[in-house]
């Protein structure tokens, strides 16, 4: 059996101290293999985002261990974690987090800029990914002038520009109408199928979850059930 891309071993996370202490995650274990699509389901406040932030190395667990390609994350230094987030992870959030007055292209190439890639290559790769998402004619537009669906596609372009291994998406369709939401979903799953990009999607949309290889339900910070798609499980 090959090492999973990401593995969580009984991780927990609590907020606050003393009387106000709140255990958001109470010991969750899971493994994410390369190329799978995983949906994390649960009610609002159940700890989905907390779990995703831990998996994406945006936060450290209070207990348990997190393994990245078999290596304990606590052994990685700040630089290595930054590099990992910059090069191997892509992020899509419910909020777009676009810089409104900067151009679409500027927004998309931000991860490349952070990585220290030169201006010419940045532009080339930015245009490449915008073309892939059929947004090349919007490259010079201000981000603020786009529709909701276009904005989320720009966000996906930004997540893709560094050719990541994993895309973490926290309620990626939460802010979109059903039709546009569907289009964004299609886009994510085609990336998963064609390019083998691993998907970790936080959602409470059952239809979206049904399209994933695996579904994981959490309630009050604990894993309740884990479902494998019939076809894949066999």
């Amino acid at each position: 059996m090959n090492t999973p891309l990401l593995a969580a071993l009984n991780i927990s996370r609590s907020y606050g101290r003393g009387a106000t202490r709140f255990d958001a995650l109470k010991g969750v274990s899971l493994k994410i293999g390369t190329g799978v699509s995983l949906a994390i389901l649960g009610k609002s406040g159940s700890g989905k985002s907390t779990l995703m932030h831990l998996l994406a190395l945006l936060d450290q667990p209070d207990g348990g261990a997190l393994l990245v390609e078999g290596k304990d994350a606590t052994e990685l230094n700040v630089k290595q974690i930054s590099r990992l987030r910059n090069e191997d992870f892509g992020f899509v959030f419910q909020q777009f987090f676009l810089t409104p007055n900067a151009s679409v292209l500027e927004n998309v190439i931000l991860p490349l800029k952070i990585a220290g890639i030169g201006a010419r290559e940045r532009k080339m790769r930015g245009m490449e990914v915008l073309t892939q998402l059929e947004l090349e004619d919007k490259a010079r537009n201000k981000a603020i002038d786009l529709s909701g669906g276009q904005k989320q596609r720009v966000v996906i372009a930004r997540a893709l520009v560094n050719n990541p291994k994993v895309i973490f998406a926290d309620e990626p369709t939460g802010n979109l109408d059903t039709v546009t939401g569907r289009l964004v979903e299609d886009l994510l799953f085609s990336l998963n199928r064609k390019d083998g990009i691993t998907l970790v999607i936080v959602t409470h949309d059952r239809d979206l979850a049904d399209r994933c290889d695996r579904q994981m339900f959490i309630r009050d910070g604990l894993k309740v059930t884990s479902l494998e798609k019939a076809g894949d499980a066999a």
Binding site: S49, H53, A56, L58, D59, V78, K79, I81, S82, R83, L84, R85, N86, E87, F91, F93, Q94, Q95, F97, T99, N101, L110, P111, K113, I114, A115, G116, G118, A119
Partner: protein, 433 residues
């Protein structure tokens, strides 16, 4: 992130919130403008004084006064009465206008003359002529520069006074040329003028003197220069009818020393004279006093400008704190995407320094422009008599120092917001809903 990208991003960010940046830049502009102007005044005036000192050829002269024996007590009250002092100096009263304690007697001159290094010493005679007249073109009051022997004046035409010889010579200033009735400075040279002086009993005497040249009006030495022969003649006439014993004292003596003497030699001479109860000053010492006063005034002005800059620094802090607040999510996103805290810090620091740079460069340029206009206005009006004085002089060194200082203040002001930005937690920012 590459350093160049950090700079362009920082500049882009500061341009993005235009109004706020402009207001902060205006605050810095005011401080930088003021500081540039005050430092230019400092440079201009001390440069002018240096030029004047350069014109003082008589670097081999000490002007000597008697040190008042009992300085006022440290508390600032009057000096205590000393009965011996009266008997010591009682034999040599001055002519009444002088304070007995500070009078130099012929005996003093002998003592001074014996100090090693002093070549000769003479008492300075104070003469106060009543008028000067050329031909019959009207009489004008004549101001005499008692220190003219210390200077080698800057000439508009003609030649310098001769130290020796028995011809009566006068060096008039440019202000007298037109009034006395000369066509120009060149026409005055070589002409004979009449000088009137009253004696002790109020009788008017007239002396003929040759105008050897015309000197430019200067800050330090205004008034006509008289040569020794003319001074002696005027002094004799002025003291006609004064009892013999009254005319023996003088307030000031001048001593010449070897022009080749080193600074140490001069110091030794001054120390020797100080030990004997005389205060001896070189020309440079006397000008140094003026320079100290002027640099004191400039220092106060500079302090005000720096206060304005510090206030502007708080403007920068405020602007950047608002900007950190506003860009919370952007900073969080950049951190989530792997931007290090150090780079975030640099981003905001550079934004602060850029705002400082912008304000200081605009302030300095405006100051230079204003200075050029002010200089030409002043030169034509208030300062027309002080040839060669450029009040505002913008030297590259001080101007660069102003820009550098403002950028340092801006950097320091930026540290607090930059620290806050670099410590921001990406998850807090991303949780924002």
């Amino acid at each position: 992130m590459r350093f160049l990208d950090i700079i362009t991003t920082a500049v882009g960010n500061s341009i993005r919130s235009k109004t706020r940046t402009i207001l902060t830049v205006v605050a810095i502009f005011i401080g930088a403008f003021t500081l540039t102007i005050t430092s230019a005044i400092g440079t201009g005036i001390s440069g002018y004084i240096d030029n004047q000192v350069g014109a003082f050829g008589a670097a081999d002269v000490l002007s000597i006064t008697k040190t008042s024996a009992d300085a006022a007590p440290a508390g600032g009250g009057p000096a205590p009465y000393d009965p011996r002092k009266v008997t010591l100096e009682g034999g040599f009263p001055g002519d009444g206008s002088e304070s007995a304690a500070a009078v130099l007697t012929p005996d003093d001159l002998v003592i001074i003359g014996k100090v090693t290094g002093i070549l000769d010493v003479s008492a300075v005679q104070q003469v106060t002529p009543r008028y000067i007249e050329y031909g019959n073109r009207g009489k004008f009051e004549l101001t005499v520069n008692p220190n003219s022997f210390l200077t080698t004046p800057d000439l508009a035409s003609g030649s310098q006074l001769r130290a020796d010889g028995d011809q009566n010579q006068i060096l008039i200033t440019t202000a007298y040329v037109g009034s006395l009735g000369f066509a120009d400075a060149a026409a005055a040279a070589g002409q004979t003028v009449t000088i009137g002086i009253t004696d002790h009993q109020g009788l008017m005497h007239e002396v003929q003197a040759t105008v050897v040249g015309v000197q430019n009006e200067t800050l330090l030495a205004s008034g006509a220069g008289l040569n020794q022969a003319l001074t002696d003649n005027l002094h004799r006439l002025q003291n006609t009818g004064v009892p013999e014993s009254s005319s023996t004292g003088s307030l000031l003596a001048t001593a010449r020393f070897n022009p080749a003497a080193s600074g140490q030699d001069v110091d030794a001479m001054q120390a020797a004279l100080a030990g004997k109860g005389y205060t001896a000053l070189t020309v440079a010492d006397q000008i140094g006093i003026i320079q100290t006063v002027i640099s004191g005034i400039i220092g106060v002005l500079n302090a005000f400008a720096v206060i304005a800059l510090v206030a502007a620094g708080f403007g920068i802090i405020n602007t950047l704190l608002m900007s950190v607040q506003e860009r919370t999510r952007e900073i969080g996103l950049m951190k989530a995407m792997g931007m290090g805290a150090g780079r975030i810090y640099a981003l905001f620091s550079i934004e602060a320094v850029f705002i400082g740079f912008l304000g200081s460069v605009i302030g300095v340029l405006a100051a230079i422009g204003t200075g050029a206009i002010a200089n030409s206005l002043l030169a034509g009006t208030v300062l027309a008599d002080l040839q060669g004085l450029v009040v505002l002089r913008f030297a590259p060194g001080p101007v660069a120092a102003v820009i550098g200082l403002v950028m340092i203040i801006a950097f320091l002001a930026g540290t607090l917001p930059a620290r806050r930005a670099s410590r921001q937690n990406p998850i807090e920012a991303l949780r924002y809903e």
